[in-house]
Subunit: 222 residues, 2 copies
DNA sequence: CAACAGAATATTGTTGACAATCTACAATCA
DNA sequence: TGATTGTAGATTGTCAACAATATTCTGTTG
């Protein structure tokens, strides 16, 4: 009886389908391909990705604790709807974590890291001067990632990343003008300065304030 | 062909097995019934709980993002091992979240909540006077839960709870003497006072410091 | 026409079977 | 002896089928 079994060719090491599906699902949600509040149909998704429902279910469970979806028994999983209020709270939370991370980096005083951060600030300045917003955002992302990783605290890093994704559930776009970018990078400069000085408290405060300011800049666009 | 199908009797509302298994697994880990670093055998657990491997796998994925287990592809899920260093970082993180929660509660200024918190402090004093440590810990837990819930920020609350569980992976027991309890409850008093006064900043600072002090008290016992 | 009851359908919950991979141990060879 | 290879068993990864529940449709009744 024609049972189609699974087999993936090639030398490439086996990555469980669950992870593959998880990443794809996450992307779909963050890119807004599925609207907030919408139900994720297991069978549809499974067929769409060419897998069975098992991996899809596991992936959903995985996403659940990241706050990207919510599950209702016997009804399915739904893309989480994020109220503006909740999103702002997420910003607060993330700001605290960011501050913590900056403080840790300052304590570490790793010359290589510090140099890279300093360079990132310069590069962002260049991007602003060139009016290259996409590039600015790219470096900005790398800048904050770098800090999160350099802090060396796995849990806090994951949390920071996770909260960052969660915030993206709020689909409204933030349009930053030139001025906003300049201000933001000036704050970056302050963070790096504190880190370079090895002043953990100042770095923490600067890192946190930077994120709180981002929140404010976001707020006024709505 | 004698296929044993699933059916659970009774009027009780259907709670998915995945959740049941998840809770049981979490309990086993937190109670130390499975040692840190140990592998969780899917089949064994499934038979033990009288379910199939599906729900067990889903439960594992669920626990993964809470930091209680770690998964290695094609090898299985392992109870996470928490270094002392990581545990202390968790305390820092949790202290920040706790501070945030306390600040929120102060802003809310809900008389009912405030009254309950004040009463809890009195009850803990009574428990200390009666040298009833178990009761103290019970109220203490309820006290902090109450604050987390009253803050009204779902994400922060879940995070606070989650971090609390994660810390328990560090199995070493903290033996608190009478003096430690008194000091701790004095700090509780300070937190409630700030909340009652509606001073969010003070409440935040007190809540955070209380947890950092707990960390210090823990530290010296090792 | 609205409200309800019941059947038909769609979707989630759970399972057992099979494939792929890893692990442990034995056999082989230098 | 020690390293390596090969095989057998155990364990995870995946799937398709069936059960239980939720949802939708339809016809009936007031």
């Amino acid at each position: 009886m024609g049972v189609k079994q699974y087999m993936r060719q090639g030398i490439e090491r086996q990555r469980p389908l669950t992870l593959e599906v998880r990443d794809e699902l996450e992307r779909m949600i963050l890119d807004g391909e599925v609207a907030a509040g919408e139900r994720l149909n297991e069978l549809t998704l499974a067929e769409q990705m060419g897998v069975s429902r098992g991996p899809v279910r596991e992936a959903a469970r995985s996403l659940e604790h990241e706050g990207l979806v919510r599950t209702v028994a016997n009804q399915g999983v739904f893309v989480r709807e994020l109220s503006l209020e909740s999103a702002l709270e997420l910003y607060d939370l993330r700001a605290m974590i960011a501050g913590y991370l900056c403080g840790r980096v300052a304590e570490k005083a790793d010359p290589v890291v510090n140099k890279a951060l300093r360079q990132a600030v310069r590069d962002m300045d260049a991007a602003i001067a060139a009016a290259d917003e996409p590039r600015y955002f790219e470096i900005n992302l790398a800048f904050h990632d770098r800090i999160a990783i350099a802090a060396g605290t796995d849990r806090a890093q994951r949390l920071y990343t996770s909260l960052g994704k969660e915030v993206r559930l709020l689909r409204r776009r933030v349009l930053c003008g030139d001025e906003s970018l300049r201000t933001s990078n000036h704050e970056h400069d302050g963070i790096v300065a504190a880190i370079e000085a090895g002043d953990a408290d100042a770095a923490r405060a600067a890192g946190m304030q930077h994120h709180l300011n981002s929140k404010s800049r976001l707020k006024i666009t709505m």
